[in-house]
């Protein structure tokens, strides 16, 4: 029998309120023992009660909420304890629960049980993690859409169409030519492309945007010392984050600032100006600058309009900015530079939109539903590949292979929702969860 599990559901550390969640068959008796309460708890009603340790001394006083199975998050009996947010006392309450027969929950175990008990499908369970991880409002709203099952419904409708086409094909295989009219191959091809392949293709494409919504993008600003990289960072993020001075080599470490573009979380890194130097601290800063540039999704090279020696473009640059353009009206620099002024704000809007276009395919930003996880993208792409391989064989003399490919495509789609080889998928997904969800 699955044991009863308990864990802190709120973030560790001091807070106003700390919530402990208990789930499993013994949730209610354990809660009653903790509260030394003879009667049960009314379903879904907040009850204020002291919580006792084994010495019958009060550990905390808080709300107890009882959700009887199956109408709970996990589908099992669930009790939530809302107490004061002292990490020490919450730890003591948890230890008391363990002594009463609960065991600590594994990461993601509550949600895992919700899936096992049919409270949600796998894609929804993943959306729970996404809701928690969302770093921008747009990402959060997208995660909500997935949690509500919009993605699952879209998939189911695609699978429904596919089932129809597979069934048609199977009928051709199981009934001889005597019994059935000839298979309309061009028609089948067209309908499959329209109802199945095309929607999947669009979902796969949406992943580049959807995954950016959660994974975000990193941008490194590089350039010679004192071209105004730190001023640019301050101007873009709207806060006075970096120290700006006229002295070359002011920025020595890598400075990071988070902001968003098109709802995508962006991490901008300002780096030490690249130059030969004897200063060992500055040298380390320059090494880190190069490292940041290597791992960034987009490398922005900044030059100074007033100093042609800062203009040569390094090969790692994805975008080139000419700062202090307001100070050099004749614009004699080579092509390919975008003129800006971190001081006046000139050209910054254009930079932002060009940067956004580098990060994501902006044509997709109008879609309302995005694929947001690599697992989903991978399986959708696999389904598409199987469908296309099947299509290629439609004209040949082996419809049984077409059927084999299309069935594989169906299985790949089903795997997204958690039908199929469940255990291995579950393990892969729930390893990403934090405890308490």
């Amino acid at each position: 029998m699955p044991s009863t599990i308990a864990a802190l559901a709120t973030a560790p550390g001091r807070s106003g309120i700390g919530v402990i969640r208990i789930s499993g068959e013994r949730a209610l008796p354990v809660a009653r023992s903790l509260c030394r309460r003879r009667e049960g708890f009314p379903p879904r009603m907040a009850v204020l009660s002291p919580w006792y340790d084994e010495a019958r001394e009060v550990l905390d006083t808080g709300l107890v909420l009882y959700f009887p199975a199956p109408h709970s998050y996990t589908g099992e009996d669930v009790v939530e304890l809302h107490g004061h947010g002292s990490p020490v006392m919450l730890r003591a309450v948890l230890n008391r629960l363990y002594a009463l027969g609960c065991r600590p929950a594994q990461p993601g175990e509550f949600t895992r049980r919700a899936v096992l008990n049919g409270k949600m499908n796998l894609a929804q369970a993943e959306a729970v993690a996404a809701c928690i991880d969302a770093a921008t409002v747009r990402a959060g709203k997208q995660a909500q859409l997935h949690l509500a099952g919009a993605f699952g419904r879209k998939l189911e409708s695609i699978m429904d169409h596919l089932t129809g086409h597979v069934a048609h094909l199977e009928a051709c295989l199981d009934f001889s030519d005597d019994d059935l009219p000839e298979l309309d191959i061009p028609g089948l091809r067209e309908r499959l492309d329209r109802d199945v392949c095309d929607p999947i293709r669009r979902l796969v494409q949406s992943a580049s945007f959807g995954m950016r919504l959660f994974d975000g993008a990193s941008i490194a600003i590089i350039g010679a010392p004192n071209v105004g990289k730190s001023s640019l960072l301050n101007a873009l993020s709207g806060i006075d984050r970096a120290i700006v001075s006229d002295l070359p080599g002011t920025t020595r470490d890598v400075l990071e600032v988070d902001f968003e573009i098109e709802g995508i979380p962006v991490r901008l890194a300002d780096t030490a100006g690249l130059r030969e130097t004897m200063d060992s601290i500055e040298r380390e800063g320059i090494r880190r600058a190069k490292e940041a540039a290597e791992t960034a999704d987009v490398v922005v090279f900044v030059a100074d309009a007033t100093r042609p020696d800062t203009w040569p473009v390094p090969e790692e640059a994805d975008m080139c900015l000419m700062n202090k353009a307001d100070l050099s009206p004749d614009a004699s620099w080579p092509e390919g530079f975008l003129s800006i002024s971190a001081r006046t704000g000139q050209g910054l809007d254009r930079f932002r939109s060009e940067l956004a276009a580098r990060i994501v395919d902006l044509d997709l930003s109008g879609e309302d539903l995005f694929v947001t996880s690599e697992r989903h993208r991978f399986l959708l792409a696999r389904a598409l590949a199987e469908l296309e391989q099947g299509m290629e064989r439609l004209d040949g003399e082996s419809l049984d292979l077409v059927a084999a490919h299309w069935r594989q495509a169906y299985d790949a789609l089903a795997e997204i929702l958690g039908f199929g080889d469940v255990e291995s998928i579950l393990d892969r997904i729930f390893s990403r969860f934090c405890i308490g969800k």
Partner: protein, 630 residues
């Protein structure tokens, strides 16, 4: 009831296996049990109607042909009798892939019966006995015999019920109905009551058959003729050639006039008047069903099939009906070529009892009564081939029960027989169950050409082959494996020698050297001729060459399927203890718990195939069976 003094007479011989019914399931069952060394008695109402084809005079078809090959690989009688009585062979799905290619034969109805009867008569372990079974005799939860209608007690260690359409059989022709197991044969009622007493879940199903026509009254010259295929393979590996003079069938169609006659008289059909409420086979609808369900079609095809070489009876395939006799005459005569046709037997519908097959273990032994087995239509299936394959399996396992031998059930990756039995005992039936290739998830592997390679070793272990057949099998296996090895390692080159060889066969020279399979898959090749590049292929016969070609054709796919099979077997390997308490598993919905408790699956894989049991429930079950993970 105890075997006490209420019987007038005991049969002097106690047998190991008593088979009730001598249709396709019963005959095959007796034969298989006897081959395993069991002493068998075959009880039938009429010794002259053994292995009768009550409906169409044909064996095989898509999925069904696959079953017949498996029966042959297990040394059964259906393939031999079919080959011995075949009038015409057809290769179906010739251009849809080797896995779904299938064989069907029109057979001489009387010759077929004669051959089966002859084989059964010749086996020293089989005793035939004409009697109608009336009552099962139990000792606790064990069946110990059967009492027949004359009061004779037949004692046996195992009893197999193969009752076909005879249990509670009720024939409908238009407004009239009468009890019968088949037109002209009496129904059996009392056994159903016995099963009710033991709380078996029973139901009613329906099937039907067309009227038969007098050959001499058909205008054959006006009809399109459909000849046989000379390159079909006989069903039995022991038979190497087809009859030289295959008979042709003829094709005609219903027309608007036919449909009008049927529509005008629908209210007189028991299916539409509400007289029959049980479910018939959706895939084999009556002509009145077709007219109602496909009103847009102006005609339905009819095949006129001979029932024998010196037979005046013709089977019009496609017009199964339970309309009144006058309507049958009228609509038949509205059809081209049949304007003067004479009906010599009426078409009819028949309702009969079946027992929910989820009452069975995969060995086809009932879960409630030890030693009692069910096979054929009593399990809710339709078709001779489905019945025979089950009969064979029941025979193997009834002998095992009686003689304490190894029991055996093929799994879904080994045989269509395994797919069918698993479907039946796991999912039950909602309508008569027919074999389809789409039911097999490992379809590419379950082909007609490799049935003996799939099942031969099992047959040897189960004592189903005699010495000669074992030698044959081993030689064949060796030949094929050698040729397959050659295929795997063969490399098509571009040197002078190769160019000459390829040119002689009319095959193109590849741009560079490549493995044989890759060469075959080139769009400019794709020819069976590549087999002639394999030295070992020359000594193979057509069926074996087909295996080789399938291996090349499915290059890559078969390996992938093999991985799927291994994954499948892993799940099948998670056994569930026999008396496992499904109610004790937490986290199962009430529905899942109920379904699991009802079906009592033996493996996790089987549990996963029960309708309504979710993957999540399987995970819970797995956790429970293996103790919780840390």
């Amino acid at each position: 009831m105890k075997a006490d003094a209420m019987f007038h007479v005991k049969h002097p011989d106690v047998v190991d296996v008593l088979v009730i019914g001598a249709g396709h399931a019963g005959a095959e069952c007796a034969w298989a049990a006897a081959r395993r060394g069991a002493r068998v008695r075959l009880l039938t109402q009429n010794l002259d109607t053994i292995a009768k084809m009550s409906c169409n005079p044909a064996i095989g078809g898509i999925g069904k042909g696959h079953l017949v090959r498996e029966i042959d690989a297990l040394n059964g009688i259906m393939p031999r009798a079919a080959d011995a009585s075949a009038l015409q062979y057809r290769v179906l799905n010739r251009r849809k892939g080797p896995a779904v290619r299938a064989t069907r034969a029109q057979c001489d109805r009387r010759l077929y019966q004669m051959h089966v009867r002859h084989l059964l008569d010749a086996h020293p372990n089989i005793g035939l006995h004409q009697a109608t079974a009336r009552q099962l005799v139990f000792d606790g939860d064990q069946v110990v015999g059967v009492v027949d209608e004359l009061g004779m007690l037949h004692q046996a260690r195992a009893v197999v019920l193969t009752t076909g359409t005879f249990l509670g059989g009720l024939i409908h022709i238009g407004e009239s109905k009468f009890p019968a197991g088949r037109f002209g044969d009496a129904a059996v009622d009392s056994l159903t009551d016995e099963l009710y007493h033991r709380e078996f879940r029973l139901g009613r199903l329906k099937t039907g058959t067309p009227p038969r026509l007098d050959r001499r009254s058909i205008r054959w010259d006006e009809l399109e003729s459909q000849p046989g295929d000379p390159d079909a393979w006989p069903f039995s590996m022991q038979v190497s050639s087809l009859p030289r003079d295959q008979l042709a069938c003829a094709v005609t169609r219903t027309n608007e006039r036919t449909h009008e006659i049927i529509r005008e008289n629908l209210h007189r059909s028991p299916m539409y008047s509400g007289e029959i409420r049980s479910t018939g086979p959706r895939y084999c609808p009556s002509i009145e069903d077709k007219v109602v369900r496909f009103p847009e079609k102006s005609g339905h095809q009819i095949f006129l099939e001979p029932e024998g070489r010196d037979h005046e009876e013709i089977y019009p395939n496609g017009v199964s009906t339970s309309l009144p006799l006058d309507v049958q005459w009228a609509f038949i005569r509205s059809i081209e070529g049949l304007e003067q046709a004479r009906i010599i037997r009426p078409g009819y519908a028949i309702e009969y009892d079946y027992v929910d097959p989820t009452e069975l273990q995969p060995s086809l032994e009932t879960k409630k009564i030890r030693g009692l087995f069910h096979a054929g239509q009593i399990n809710g299936t339709t078709g001779y081939e489905e019945a025979a394959a089950q009969g064979l399996l029941a025979g193997i396992n009834a002998a095992a029960r009686a003689l304490d031998l190894e029991s055996w059930v093929p799994d879904r990756s080994e045989a269509y027989l395994g797919v069918m039995v698993d479907d039946l005992v796991t999912r039950g039936v909602m309508e008569p169950y027919r074999m389809f290739t789409s039911r097999a998830e490992f379809r590419l592997h379950l082909r007609e050409d490799n049935a003996e390679m799939r099942l031969g070793e099992h047959a040897i272990r189960l004592d189903l082959y005699d010495e000669e057949r074992i030698r044959w099998h081993e030689r064949r296996r060796e030949r094929i494996e050698r040729a397959m090895h050659e295929v795997r390692t063969a490399f098509v080159g571009t040197g002078a020698g190769w160019r000459e060889r390829l040119a002689a066969l009319g095959l193109p020279v590849p741009p560079q050297g490549m493995p044989l399979a890759s060469y075959y898959h080139r769009p400019d090749v794709r020819s069976d001729k590549v087999l002639q590049l394999i030295d070992g292929a020359a000594s193979l016969e057509p069926r074996e060459r087909a295996s080789l070609l399938a291996m090349i054709h499915y290059e890559g796919y078969l390996d992938k399927q093999q991985q799927d099979i291994e994954r499948f077997r892993k799940l099948e390997g998670h056994r569930i203890p026999e008396h496992f308490d499904f109610a004790s598993v937490q986290g199962l919905s009430i529905e899942c718990r109920q379904r699991l408790s009802e079906c009592r699956p033996r493996t996790l894989g089987q549990a996963a195939r029960i309708p309504g049991v979710t993957p999540a429930a399987i995970s819970s079950l797995m956790l429970h069976l293996h103790g919780e993970r840390a």
